[in-house]
Amino acid sequence: MVIWIILLAMTAAAVMAVLWPLSRQRNVGRQMDPDTLFYREQIAEIERDLGRGVLLASEAEAAKAEAGRRLLRAMGLPGGEAFAAVGEPALRRRRAASTLVLSIIPLLALATYEIYGSPQLLSQPPGARMQPPQQQAGNLDLLGAVAEIEAHLAKNPQDGRGWEVIAPVYLRMGRIDDAVKAYEAAVRYQSPDAVRLSNYGEALVLAKDGLISAEAQGAFEQAIKLDPSAPKAKFYLARAAVQDGQGEKARTILQSLLASSPADAPWVDAVRQELAALGAPQPEAAPAGAPQVGPEAIAGMVAGLASRLETQGGSAEEWTRLMRSYAVLGQRDKAADAARRAREALAQDTEALKTIDTMAQELKLTDAQP
């Protein structure tokens, strides 16, 4: 409420500032013609310079003669006419101008502020917007914690533990590049172990929308060296093999991973899905139709790719990658949906449409045909 009074007072002050000169009765007569004045001053200046010895008498004479000629010419000009400050038309003009001032300033200011300002913030008491609603509180705490850790890390950049804490938070916040840096620092400043290296590799993979770069592969291989059974590293190495076109190698890795994993390990389903996609014989059929959710990271990766394609578009290859990912995750409806969107997005590109259709047939997403 207070703020509205302030805004009102500001408006009133602005209007008054301009109304005031309009309301004054000015006693303006004939203004001295500025030209005439100027040349008179110039002649006086020449006299002064002559007195000070800056000009020679002959120079001063010539300068004065010229200024005098101009003065004569200026005096013969029209101009310096009387001001029209009194009488009926002047009064009408003044009224019209006042109306203009009284209407335009408040209306324009309020309209502009209404469109671009945030007046809804003002209707709350000043303290209220500092306390966000309940559901945002958690988010805010998280941000606060992140800020604190960041400040700490800025001072102690070699604290690997701190980097390790903040890395997964970055990942969850979608700041994947920061997560990569954080994991990298965690690996660098602490004794490297398989888990850290796999996490670092995973972040690299996520940053590349699922592509396993040489850097990431290096991290996974190092992890395997430290711990031959590291499941995450194995899983991604199998992926890398798939991306390199070495399906057989991928199958071997995945089967050995499955063999060495406890039956209730969280990644078992994902590994089975992957094997299914590779067309390998499975020791045990996965429960069909049930929604399958792989490790959090894969789901996140696919979601990241989906949202990127959604907002920025992408190539046919990327769309097919998304379709395949959904199919691998068992989310056939989503895969079909992705195929439909891909056809919409790439409608102009017949080559791309062919690629999409081929993939859809391969994945047996027949219901998604237009």
């Binding site: 500025p34 300033i105 309020l110």
Partner: protein
């Protein structure tokens, strides 16, 4: 609350500007003094509103109020206080707000100088000024609003671009903007003169201080920007012919021409129409500069804004004002009274030549800057026009102009005597030639450009001083009398000489860069790198952690001919929040030259890449610019009327002169 009030103040300023535009124009047409007085009142109120808005934004920065999007994007609570303040204009939105703040400030000054400006001229000028304000306020409010909020407020900001976290940034944009925007006043006066159909020496007298002030600030701004690029970007260069630099050079060249043609107009009532056109062109080039930098059509450190919406908007403003004012010019200029006549060989004639050269040089820069853009738009072809183009086109235009400076300064008004003038400069010319030859002999085998350029610079400095000397001293005059007489010369004469001497100093500095030495090397601790007469030894590398960055600092000991002369430190910084690395050059000043080192990559084996330069006399480049601006300022303090005595100047009798 303060922020919202600031936002509202900006909206109020828009309404007030509209009144300031409409009512005074109407008043001037009807010759109604009451309506005309709305102009100064409106200008003062607009200034108050925009100043309040600016303070509100500053307040948000100081309190790290991250609920303001602009603060969140460009500040950080750990940032030092000075960069919190300079951060206000260290980004697109804030810098545009600074732009209109300066615009409004100048409008307020015109409004306050009520008695020295004829009423109709003032009313029309402020109306035109208001039109510019409206356009830029709309631009700010609709496409670059600094008061946009984010709810809920983020806890921490994203930090200011590290390259811009520097004292240079705190000073450079305000100086540059005062220069750009100062020309808007000349522009507004020119349009007012066209609207009213009156143009005379009075007009020139009123406009001169504005043009001169704007020019001096622009000079400082460009010099500051150049020095900033020199030490911050770590490439050791001081001018890159980068489009952003050209964007400020073009108004400077046109403004320099304007400063000179205004003098002709005030003293001799000539060159009127040309001066008006020049005033319009100068501000148009300032607007163009704003467009180039703000629209993001160029990719460089200055282009914070990459947003087509903004670019289109500024392009609209550009077309509206340039097109509108030129149309006004085409319509009204033929009705203007033509001015006085003068002989080709005269001070006026020399100034016309000056204007021709400057205008052509400006056109060259214009083509070199815009042609690649036009080509890219039309043909989709990307070419880069760099130093070679400008060296081939700009230098041949500027060198003759520089040669003419002392001559023009010595010529008399209205009708001069070329031979007599040349005779008076004979000694100056001889000394400069001698200096060139001596330098050439001593540095035989080195670059030829350096002695030639330095000779030119010496000629300029001596030629400027010669003017003061010959006006106050002749053979046989006792020195104290001559000194008194010299002090009695108008300050504008001193200003002219000093500014022209400044040009000479800059030329010397530029010419001496040809003697610069560059060396590259990978050093381990204790190893040495030699560049010319100078040598550095890497002492140690110190990692440091500061509030918002961490850095590796290399400490180097500098030797000159085997003797230790000092140490310098060059840093590689990483700004943690933006994850952005920067290089801080280490500079050791030796007289007017500098030893300049910048740190490259730190290798795995602990060795570091070091780039070492020795730049003799390099400081003169910027000292020259400072001297130029000082000359302008000195001339600015001279509020007397300018008189161009038409007879040929002779040496005045040695009489005592009271100081002015």
């Amino acid at each position: 609350m303060v922020v919202e009030a600031g936002h509202f103040a900006l909206a109020l300023a828009l309404g007030l500007s509209l009144i300031q535009f409409v009512v005074p124009l109407w008043g001037a047409r009807a010759n109604d003094p009451v309506l005309m007085t709305v102009a100064p009142a409106g200008a003062l109120a607009v200034f108050a509103c925009i100043a309040f808005a600016f303070l509100a934004l500053t307040f948000a920065y100081l309190n790290s109020d991250f609920s303001v999007l602009n603060v969140y994007q460009n500040s950080h609570s750990a940032k030092p206080l000075i960069y919190k303040i300079s951060g206000v204009w260290g980004n697109h939105e804030g810098s545009m707000l600074l732009w209109v703040l300066i615009l409004a400030l100048f409008g307020a000054v015109v409004a306050a100088s009520r008695n020295s400006i004829p009423m109709r001229l003032q009313a029309n000028t402020l109306a035109v000024q208001a039109a510019v304000t409206i356009a830029f306020l709309l631009f700010i409010l609709t496409t670059s609003n600094p008061f946009t909020r984010v709810i809920p407020a983020p806890v921490e900001g994203q930090d200011l671009n590290p390259l811009l976290q520097d004292l240079g940034l705190a000073i450079h944009p305000p100086l540059l903007y005062i220069g750009y925007v100062g020309f808007s006043i000349s522009f507004a006066f020119a349009c007012a003169a066209l609207i009213d159909g009156r143009i005379d020496a009075v007009w020139a007298r009123i406009v001169r201080p504005w043009t001169l002030g704007a020019w001096a600030f622009l000079t400082l701004g460009i010099a500051m920007g150049s020095y900033w690029a020199y030490y911050e970007l770590g490439w050791g260069g001081w001018w890159f012919w980068d489009p952003v630099e050209n964007a400020s050079l073009m108004p400077w060249l046109a403004g320099t021409a304007l400063v000179h043609s205004t003098v002709v107009m005030e003293k001799r009532d000539a060159l009127k129409v040309w001066t008006i056109l020049l005033a319009i062109l100068t501000f148009s080039l300032s607007l163009l500069g704003t467009f180039l930098v703000r629209s993001g059509v160029l990719t460089s450190v200055h282009s914070f804004a990459v947003d087509p919406e903004r670019g289109t908007f500024i392009l609209g403003i550009l077309i509206l004002f340039i097109g509108g004012s030129l149309a006004l010019f085409a319509w009204r200029a033929p009705m203007l009274k033509q001015g006085g006549l003068f002989a080709p060989v005269s001070r006026e004639g020399a100034l016309v030549v000056n204007n021709l050269f400057l205008a052509t040089a400006c056109a060259t820069v214009f083509i070199g800057t815009l042609y690649p853009l036009a080509l890219e738009v039309l043909a989709g072809e990307k070419i880069s026009v760099g130093a070679p183009f400008f060296n081939f086109t700009f230098l041949p235009l500027i060198v003759p102009l520089l040669l003419l400076i002392p001559l023009g300064q010595t010529l008399a008004w209205k009708r001069g005597n070329f031979l007599g003038t040349a005779q008076r400069l004979f000694a100056v010319f001889g000394i400069s030639l001698l200096a060139t030859m001596v330098l050439f002999a001593f540095t035989y085998g080195g670059p030829v450009a350096a002695p030639l350029g330095i000779g030119l610079g010496v000629y300029l400095v001596l030629g400027s001083l010669n003017e003061i000397v010959t006006r106050s001293w002749s053979m046989g005059t006792p020195l104290p009398v001559a000194w008194r007489k010299a002090r009695g010369l108008p300050r504008s004469a001193w200003g002219t000489s000093i500014a022209h001497a400044g040009v000479g100093l800059t030329v010397i500095g530029i010419a001496a860069t040809a003697w610069g030495v560059e060396a590259l090397g990978t050093l381990k601790i204790g190893e040495r790198l030699k560049g010319g007469d100078y040598e550095v030894r890497l002492e140690r590398i110190i990692p440091r952690v500061e509030a918002n960055y961490r850095e590796d600092a290399a400490v180097l000991t500098v030797f000159s001919s085997g003797r230790e002369i000092g140490t310098l430190e060059t840093m590689k910084r990483l700004y943690v929040t933006r994850g952005m690395p920067t290089t801080e050059a280490g500079i050791l000043t030796t007289g007017l030259g500098q030893v300049y080192a910048s740190l490259g990559e730190v290798q795995a084996d602990g060795s570091v890449g070091i780039r070492l330069y020795h730049k003799p006399l390099v400081l003169l480049i910027w000292i020259g610019a400072l001297v130029m601006a000082a000359g302008g300022a000195l001339s600015l303090t001279d509020r007397r009327l300018r008189i161009g005595a038409p007879a040929r100047a002779k040496v005045a009798p040695p009489s005592a002169v009271p100081a002015e």
